[in-house]
Structure formats: structure tokens, C-alpha cells
């Protein structure tokens, strides 16, 4: 497969970039932050996005989607990343819809996915139980109770957790989530840590579900979800959810990497503009070779990142055997790149970069949160080495 966008994807890219530039510029995120907006994104905007098919890019037409792929979702997310646009694209579509599509029964898909594609139902996946992404370290338990399950535990940093209508919860129906098995066997699929994991659909309104929003540095949405004997509906096969969880993480990471790439491009362009207008010592600071070489190095890292993001998305759409490797590759390269670009954006702006009024600070804050989500570069570097067999 060629590593270039096709004509339709190019058109989608231009229209998505124009859409976010006009309808959700960085000032929109500032407004959500400064008014402490309870939703954390604009529902009107989300309805418009859904109307364009963006909530169902990779969903089959039978479930109300447009039958494209993750590449298209990535193209839209990259455009959203440029303006730091907040929307349910990540939690509802990249995470939630991926999980339901991969694990759900025909009835569950029929019930949830068309409503997702229409922009009516919001989803998320509750995975994490601490400050770091450790997908095999799950203490939340699920106990069979007649036809359903009773779930108990505490989930942390659930994206859009405070607004999701249905939460896909990772819980343990068997096996141990103890420290030892968790640290030794990540991702192996047959270790004590990953065996016995299951997925459940939990209604936000169900008894025993307590949700508390968390205020984060990037002004985007996270929530703590506590379950105290809450009713869960099994999604997929009990105790055998790991391959689905692993795949959902890969897909969502590729989409997240696309968003991070878009943010990096915007922060970089902003910084280049500054180098071309700011004067010191009687010269534009962009004439200084000390800055020129660092700018050129950022350009190179961004170019490499474009390739790995497109490759990761295409690998998902082609169901390639190395899709997992490509997802971790993308997360490492893009995280390394974004760390560099976001730090340099502040440094090259000097004092003005430290002010709240200048946007580069917002890009830096989003950068670090996005890096941490679903595993930072260290986590994925380790996984990448493991997948390569060392």
C-alpha cells in the first residue's frame, strides 16, 4: 500500500482543517476552560461532526457508519489536533466504538453503534487504575450474578468519563492482578495478568456507579469512575478480552498519535512564524544559526512522524500482522517528537511563551497529557522491543 493519502482522503483533510479552524479554533478551548464548561466540549459541534460522518468513519454502513477506516479518523483527528479541538472523537469513537465493534454481539452493535454514529450516544473505555497506563494491572472485579455481573473497583483517568452514556469497563472475572504477574507478563496474552480480563457495558445511570470529573492541565476531559456492585453487561467472551483490549489500545493509540502530530505541526508553524517576526540584537531571531538548526531538526522529526502515523493507520485498515508493532512505533516516535517540539516552542518564544496569553503553553500541556494516555514513550519502547523479539 502506498504511504500517501488518496484523493478522497486529501479532500477530507482540507475540509476537516477548515472546519476546526473556523468552528473550533484554540479560542474555543480557552472558552471551555475559562467558563469551566461542565461538558468539556460543544455538543452542537459534535452533532455537526457526526452529520459529516466523522463519528462513524470506520463503522460499517449497516451500523450507520460511512464504511471508511481508521486512516480517515486519523486524518480528522490530525486536523482537530491542530487547534486543540475537544470532542468525543477519541473516547467515543477511537476507544468506545472500536471496543464494541470488535467484541460486541450483533444485538449490542445494533443497539449502540448507530447511535454513536449519529452523535447521540457517548461512549468511553475505563481501563486504567492508577496514574500510569498498565493495561494488565486490573483489580476491578466482576462477579456473575444471575444473567449479569456485579462490578466493583475504581477506574482512573477515564477520558470523557463524566459525560459518557455507556462506559466499557475492563474488569477481572478470573486471575490475579497482583504486582508480580502484572510487571512480568504485560501483553503476553497468556500471563496471569492478562488472562481472566473481561469487558462490560456499564450504564452511567446504573446504581453503584459514582463518577467524578478530574481537572487536568490540558483542560480536557478525564473522570474517576468508582463501581460499587454496579451492574455490567458482558461484552465479548468472559475472561478472554485481552486480545480485544490490546487491539483497541493499538487503534486508539494510532488515532491519538495522529492528533498529537497535528498539534505538533501547529505549534511548530507558530514557532516558525515567531522566528520570522521577533527581533533581537537588531536582527530577526530566525537568522541565528543556533535556532535554525534546531528548527530544521524539528522539521525532520515531524516528517518522520508523518510516515509512522500514516503507516500505523494503514496497518490497522489492512488488518496487517504488524499493526501492533506499527502502533507502538508511532507512539514512541510521535511522543519523542512532540516532547521536542512542545519544549522548543516554549523556549524559542522566550518569556512570551510562558504567558497564558500565548497559545504555545496550551500545546505543551496537551502534549504531556496525550503522551501519557495509553502509554508514554517508555512504555511503548519496551513493548516495541518485546514485539521485535528482544
Amino acid at each position: 500500500m502506498a504511504l500517501v493519502l488518496n484523493e478522497e482522503q486529501h479532500l477530507l483533510k482540507s475540509s476537516a482543517e477548515a472546519f476546526f479552524r473556523e468552528r473550533a479554533p484554540v479560542t474555543a478551548l480557552r472558552a471551555l476552560r475559562d467558563t469551566a464548561d461542565p461538558t468539556g466540549f460543544s455538543r452542537d459541534l459534535w452533532r455537526e461532526m457526526a452529520a459529516m460522518g466523522w463519528a462513524g468513519t470506520f463503522l460499517p454502513e449497516e451500523y450507520g457508519g460511512i464504511g471508511c477506516g481508521y486512516t480517515e479518523l486519523g486524518v480528522v483527528m490530525q486536523a482537530a489536533g491542530r487547534t486543540l479541538a475537544a470532542s468525543p472523537l477519541f473516547a467515543t469513537v477511537a476507544l468506545g466504538a472500536s471496543a464494541v465493534l470488535l467484541a460486541g454481539s450483533a444485538e449490542q452493535k445494533e443497539r449502540l453503534l448507530p447511535a454513536v454514529a449519529a452523535g447521540e450516544t457517548l461512549l468511553t473505555v475505563a481501563l486504567q487504575e492508577g496514574p500510569h497506563h498498565r493495561p494488565e494491572r486490573v483489580a476491578t472485579s466482576a462477579v456473575a450474578n444471575g444473567e449479569g455481573y456485579m462490578l466493583s473497583g475504581a477506574k482512573t483517568y477515564v477520558p470523557d468519563g463524566h459525560v459518557a452514556d455507556v462506559i466499557v469497563v475492563v474488569a477481572r472475572t478470573a486471575g490475579a492482578g497482583d504486582e508480580e504477574s502484572a510487571t512480568s507478563g504485560e501483553g503476553a496474552g497468556d500471563s496471569a495478568g492478562t488472562a481472566g480480563l473481561s469487558l462490560f457495558l456499564v450504564d452511567r445511570e446504573a446504581a453503584g456507579v459514582m463518577i467524578e470529573r478530574r481537572s487536568m492541565a490540558d483542560s480536557r476531559n478525564m473522570a474517576e469512575v468508582r463501581l460499587d456492585g454496579a451492574t455490567g453487561e458482558l461484552l465479548g467472551t468472559a475472561g478472554e478480552a485481552w486480545p480485544v483490549i490490546d487491539t483497541v489500545i493499538d487503534r486508539a493509540n494510532a488515532v491519538l498519535a495522529a492528533e498529537m502530530l497535528g498539534s505538533a505541526q501547529a505549534a511548530f508553524e507558530r514557532t516558525m512564524e515567531y522566528l520570522k517576526t521577533r527581533e533581537q540584537f537588531g536582527a530577526l531571531i530566525g537568522t541565528f544559526q543556533a535556532l535554525q538548526h534546531r528548527a530544521a531538526q524539528m522539521f525532520c522529526e515531524i516528517e518522520l512522524s508523518k510516515s509512522v502515523v500514516l503507516k500505523a493507520l494503514e496497518a490497522i485498515d489492512a488488518d496487517a500482522p504488524d499493526a501492533a508493532l506499527c502502533a507502538s512505533l508511532a507512539k514512541v516516535q510521535v511522543s519523542d517528537m512532540l516532547r521536542l517540539v512542545s519544549d522548543e516552542a516554549i523556549q524559542m518564544h522566550g518569556g512570551i511563551g510562558m504567558t497564558d496569553e500565548e497559545d504555545v503553553g496550551l500545546y505543551l500541556k496537551r502534549a504531556r497529557v496525550a503522551q501519557q494516555m495509553l502509554g508514554d514513550e517508555n512504555c511503548h519502547l519496551d513493548r516495541y522491543a518485546r514485539l521485535r523479539g528482544y
Partner: protein, 397 residues
């Protein structure tokens, strides 16, 4: 059977019949590379035969037009030929700076007469070329070169010295940048000349490098007479040709950084596993493992970028801006690879002579790689070009 499949079968049959068995095993040393030229000493009769047969077929340069000694094949057929050569393990019949560097510039800028005169000899490996670019006083600032060519009516008189002339002592002809207008701004007084290294007044002296090898020479010109017909392109417009040629040089240097498809040499990963060992499914050195993984991420990201740039060019994009990025990143990546090989191998990798060290193969390749980010425009020059031409950053007066 479609035409391409038929071509594939015919090609396979021809290669099987014409590629000698000894030309189907990997080369053990650099000495087995075939460079061709008037005075080339073939390492075996098979090597001579293989070059001759491929040359007659035009398959040393399968994509060139037939009248210039090429095979006249389209892109799909060239790909098939390369695939079939790879499948049979056929060695490249000819390595040539003429093919790699000079020909792309000749095809674009030379007269029809010049093309017909020089290109077929390059294709058949009859004439070996060297490049006269850098001078002792003009390295990164190449356009400041001072080798002069003075118009003497029926010929140019060339005086000066070049340095880092690759295989200057073995080459038959040189393509050379000379100053033809000393009063013009530095980029506007340069011309592109071709001449025979056997001309009176040409002499060379090899330079011994840190790797122990001497692939480069200093080359001296003392009143060398060059026929005026040997000027390529317009007088004083040589810098344009020089830049075009450098872009090709950079693109080929870049491929050093990519993962070599189907390479038979032991990979860095295999070396590391052999030398360091595994424990619980992981390399038994967590710090080296981390460095190796980060290197692989960069190597793979770079390989994908080469592919993406190639795909974009096929779709009609301008390769110009990418060549500096690829040269910079490719050469830095190869240097990193060589460093990790030394680190993985430890003192075994620093052995210098003797069969147990393969005559210092790893150490010498590691030292050779240090030049990757110097030759063909240093890494710093590539970053300058990106800052200026791609990012449009303002330039100091």
C-alpha cells in the same frame, strides 16, 4: 500469461543461463566489487563475463534509453529484473560513480553528442569516472572553489587542485567544477568540465584514512588542456548542474540509513542477541536494549519516510526539499547503527587484522561511517538548506 509475467520468466531464464555461479554468492569483501574502467583488474573471469553480458544487454542501467547503452525498460520491468536478480542472488555487475552521479546530470544538461559519446561507455563499464568537486580550501563552502579554467581559444587551460576525489587514482575520466569567471559572484563563475585523467598535467596522490583504506585522492592539475567540446551545459552555469548532481548524491547517501531489504549480513539485532544474550525473553542488558529499541524506532521511521517520499514523488511531488532531510537523517542513522554494532560486539568488534576479526570489518566500517555526515554536504549544511529552502527562515546578511 500477461506480458509482464512473460518478461519475468524470460528474465529469469536469461539470468540463470548467463549469471556465472560465482557471481551468485554474496561478496566477502569490498575487493570483489566490480568498478570497470580501462585498467580495472577483474577479480575473476566470471566477474568480467558477468559485466560484459549485462553490459551488452543494457542491464547495468536497465532504465536508460537504448541509444545510451541502457536496457530501455519501463519502471515495472526494471523492478522485475531487480527482483529476479535478488531471488537468484546475482551480484550487481557494476558499481559506478558514472551511473550514480554523472549520468543523471548528463541526461539533463549534456548535448546529444556528449550523451552519445560518454553514456554508453559508462553503461558498459569501459570508462570509470571520478568527481572533482571539493578543494583543499573549499569544503562545505564548495562554491568558493578556485581551480581555474582559462579560455585559450581552442581549449581551456586548467590549473588547481581537488581533494577527496573518490578513486581518483583509478579513474579514467573526471567531471570537474572549475572557475571560468573569477570576477563574477562565486556561484555565477563556475563551469562543469569533463576530461581524461591521462591528460598531460594531471596527477594524483592517495589519502590514507582512519579506516586504513585509501578510497580518496588529492588530484592536481598543472596546465591541463581540455577541449572546449567537453564543457557540459552553458559557460558559467555549472553551479546548477553541480546542485542537481548533489541531490542525487544525497539521495543515494540517504539509503544508508534505511533497513536494507533482504540483506544477508548479520543484523544489528542478531549481533546484539549473540553478544549480549537473552534473559526472560529480553536482551540481558536493559540499557543497551533501550538504546537498540530507540535506534530501531528511528531506523524504521526513517525507512518509512524514504518510502513515503518515494510514493509522493510518484504522485508528482517535488523531491527537492526531501533530499536534505533524507541525507541528514540517513547518514546520522547509519553512524548510530555502526556505533551500536561496536557497543554490541565489544572488543571483538574493534579487532583490526586477522581472520578472526574478518580483517577488522566491523571496526573499519564503523570508522568509514563517520564520513557519512561529512561527504556530499555535511549534516550542518543539510540543516542550513532545510532552514533556508524548506522553512523559509530569514538569512543573515
Amino acid at each position: 500469461m500477461d506480458e509482464l509475467e512473460q518478461f519475468r520468466q524470460e528474465t529469469r531464464a536469461w539470468l540463470e543461463a548467463n549469471c556465472p555461479a560465482s557471481m551468485r554468492v554474496p561478496m566477502k569483501t569490498e575487493d570483489e566489487v566490480c568498478w570497470g574502467g580501462r585498467h580495472f583488474e577483474f577479480s575473476s573471469d566470471d566477474q568480467r563475463l558477468w559485466l560484459q553480458r549485462m553490459g551488452e544487454k543494457g542491464w547495468t542501467v536497465p532504465d536508460w534509453p537504448v541509444q545510451y547503452g541502457g536496457g530501455g525498460l519501463d519502471r515495472k520491468r526494471v523492478k522485475i529484473l531487480h527482483e529476479e536478480m535478488r531471488n537468484l542472488g546475482c551480484r550487481s555487475p557494476l558499481s559506478s560513480l558514472g551511473i550514480l552521479l554523472l549520468a543523471p546530470a548528463m541526461l539533463k544538461y549534456a548535448s546529444e553528442e556528449q550523451k552519445l559519446e560518454h553514456l554508453p561507455k559508462i553503461a558498459r563499464g569501459e570508462i570509470r569516472w571520478c568527481q572533482g568537486y571539493s578543494e583543499p580550501g573549499s569544503g562545505s563552502d564548495l562554491a568558493s572553489l578556485s581551480t581555474s579554467a582559462v579560455d585559450m581559444g581552442d581549449h581551456y587551460l586548467v590549473n588547481g587542485a581537488k581533494i577527496w576525489t573518490s578513486y581518483g587514482d583509478k579513474a579514467d575520466w573526471i567531471f570537474c567544477l572549475v572557475r571560468t569567471d573569477p570576477d563574477a559572484p562565486k556561484h555565477e563563475g563556475i563551469s562543469f568540465l569533463l576530461f581524461d585523467m591521462e591528460s598531460e598535467g594531471v596527477s594524483t596522490a592517495p589519502i590514507r584514512l582512519i579506516s586504513g583504506a585509501s578510497p580518496f585522492c588529492q588530484t592536481f592539475f598543472d596546465n591541463v588542456k581540455v577541449p572546449k567540446a567537453n564543457l557540459v551545459g552553458e559557460l558559467n552555469k555549472g553551479w546548477t548542474i553541480a546542485k542537481h548532481l548533489l541531490q542525487h548524491e544525497r539521495s543515494s547517501a540517504a539509503s544508508l540509513g534505511a533497513t536494507a531489504p533482504g540483506s544477508r549480513k548479520q543484523s544489528l539485532q542478531e549481533m546484539a542477541v549473540d553478544a549480549i544474550g537473552m534473559k526472560d525473553g529480553k536482551l540481558d542488558d536493559p540499557i543497551f536494549r533501550q538504546k537498540l529499541a530507540r535506534f530501531h524506532v528511528r531506523e524504521q521511521a526513517f525507512t518509512l519516510t524514504m518510502q513515503r517520499v518515494g510514493d509522493e514523488m510518484k504522485a508528482g511531488a517535488d523531491p527537492g526539499p526531501a533530499s536534505s532531510l533524507l541525507k541528514y537523517y540517513g547518514s546520522e542513522t547509519n553512524k548510530e547503527r555502526r556505533e551500536l554494532m561496536i557497543a554490541a560486539g565489544g572488543l571483538d568488534a574493534l579487532g583490526w587484522e586477522g581472520e578472526e576479526f574478518e580483517e577488522g570489518r566491523l571496526a573499519r566500517s564503523w570508522l568509514r561511517s563517520k564520513a557519512n555526515s561529512i561527504e556530499g554536504g555535511t549534516s550542518e549544511i543539510q540543516l542550513n538548506i532545510i532552514a533556508k529552502r524548506v522553512l523559509g527562515l530569514p538569512q543573515a546578511d
